[in-house]
Amino acid sequence: MHFFKLILRNALRHKLRTGLTVLGFVVAFLSFGLLQTIVDAWYAGAEGAAPDRLITRNAVSLVVPLPLHYREKIRSVEGVKTVAAANWFAGVYQEPKNFFPQFAVDPAPYFSMFPEYRIAGDEFRAFLRDRKGAVVGRKLAQTHGWKIGDAVPLKGTIFPGNWEFVVRAIYDAGEAKTDTSQFFFHWDYLNETMRARAPLRANQVGIFVISVADVDRAAAISEAIDQQFRNSIAETLTETEQAFQIGFVKQTEAIVIAIRIVSFVVIFIMLAVMANTMAMTARERMSEYATLKALGFPPSYVSALIFGESLAIAGVGCAIGVGLTFPVGNWFAQQMGTLFPVFEVSGETVALQLACAVAVAVIAAALPARRAARIRIVEGLRAIG
């Protein structure tokens, strides 16, 4: 009991110094937590992928389209349950900075494969009936203040011209990792318009989304699909939805790695600050430690005091930092709008924050604790701060 009281009294002796150190911890661990969460958000798309969904694209690259008649051929491959065509639209809503993902899809098969997009039945039927109808995510609708029945004009980049859509349904997230910042509309509307505007570019599909009946046979089915189109004009590459999504993340991995490295730099900055605080504290109290030893306390008791104080300061700072990560993270996610569709502080992040706090506290206290434990009583009593 006395031990803890001593630690508390010691920590509060220099209120300003302890306060500043705690503040440093709060700032450092808050920013560390946010950076880790940004990295997690980067991978969220891949984690939201279902194992029974496959994506077929042109083997050359994603920007080279596939012919529409592949849809029937893929459907006939044994083990394939559903096939839907999808095109990345890349339209601009008012300004380029309002970016959100837009897809032209075969509505009925596509949404049957994505049960995590929760749509009210009557809204979905209204969408199916309206050729210019669109399904938008809850988060996207909130960002731009769209309601059912609102008109949304998009300016095409890949598909030239101005495009008019009407919001017919809003989908909600079925799972925590579901991205509700997307915009879907009828593939047929895209194709018919292109047929009128640029006939050569009609009947071209960006990707086919496929669901399989038996997850265990996904690899074999992918192989069978690609085999169908080998040595044709447009060879295909079929992979699981997850592999497809990770492919995107991997290409920007240099940035993710940089953010990860930088997030640990702030821990090192805090380590320097903490080590300085503990070194100064211990130096000032050398004569007290010598007195304790003179009274018969073992060296281990003295070092335990220093470690305890370091851990107490780090613990309080880290606890506040972790506590703030959640509200600040929410605020940050709101400010970023649709840039980070899924932004959630994970349990792993919190565990990492705690582990780093303990490591910083222990490393910072190590050197002063060793010196205090080793100091000879006579020298220590002579020492002045």
Binding site: A28, I233, V266, M280
Partner: protein, 388 residues
Amino acid sequence: MVIPIRYTLRNLWTRKLTTALTAGGMALVVFVFAAVQMLDTGLRATLVATGQPDNILVTRRGAGSEISSGIDRVQASLIEAQPEIALGPAGERLVSKEAVILITLPKRDSGQATNVTTRGVGETAYTLRPQIKIVQGRAFRRGSAEIIVGGSIAERFDGASLGAVLRFGGREWRVVGIFDSAGSAFDSEVWGDADQIMQSFRRQAYSSVVARLTDASAFDAIKARLDADPRVTLDVKRERSFFEDQSQALSNFIRYLGLTLSIIFSIGAMIGAMITMYAAVATRVGEIGTLRALGFRRSAVLAAFLFEAVLIGAIGGVAGVALASFMQFLRISTLNWQSFAELAFSFTLTLEIALASFAFSVLMGIIGGFLPAVRAARLSIVDALRTL
């Protein structure tokens, strides 16, 4: 009367560990601050070097990037006929009608499938882009399935070394040369014959048209004429600003994220400086009283302590910039969101960045040391001397 600089220097030296830890914290902040700006500068330098000042690049209106653009043959010849376009030595028009597609290649170290820009170019491409030099092998022959690759591609992709064969568009393409483009984005591209590439992909339209102007100032005239022409819907841009715009999103992301982080991290480092300086003041109350009794003014005491904090900042600044300068040996490659293809660039240290980083560090010292210095200056002589 000014307190001698030696007093400050010796104070820092006596508390070596504390000085080093405080300056070390600042050095890390300066490192992040400098490294981020170096990355942004490197990215911009790469894309600015890609465009020639007197070239124009034409894409379909609203396309934004070459891969989403399409210009049919009629429109392309309309551009070619413009009077502002310069003529080559043999009287040919300096126009390159280009087809840009992306192909996927596996990276050498990770095997990761990566988008690579593949550019089919016209005959005048080498005149239009004088920075391109073939460093190994030879140029591709027109009308054949031969390609040349940029230095970054040859280095980082397995199947793209000299003599290798790449399969795309239902054909096999032989790499017959490697080119260097003086640090521009072309280093991350594959080049071939435009007609061959369009044929293999059954494409009817070019992606972009590049042309040399007789004079850089002729830009406004050609842009005004093409904008007003009802037969075409095109975006006419200077080649340099086109490629600069291609880096906008990535550059903004790097810069804003980097600046935000530097500022947040600097709070930590400033707190470190504050703790150190408060401790320095607290342990030297007697000395301060003596100095004041000797006739040094409050302002002199304030200056001495502030100077001490500035020196710690300066040490941190120098160490941070030195640390960051090693990043110049590193080359980074990532997906450029706008062109949707791989782009390699390096960290570039400029004098401005070095100076700005140093100033940032000194500023951290001033902010961290100000309150403690004020406390030192406000001590009353009698109280201070009593602690002796």
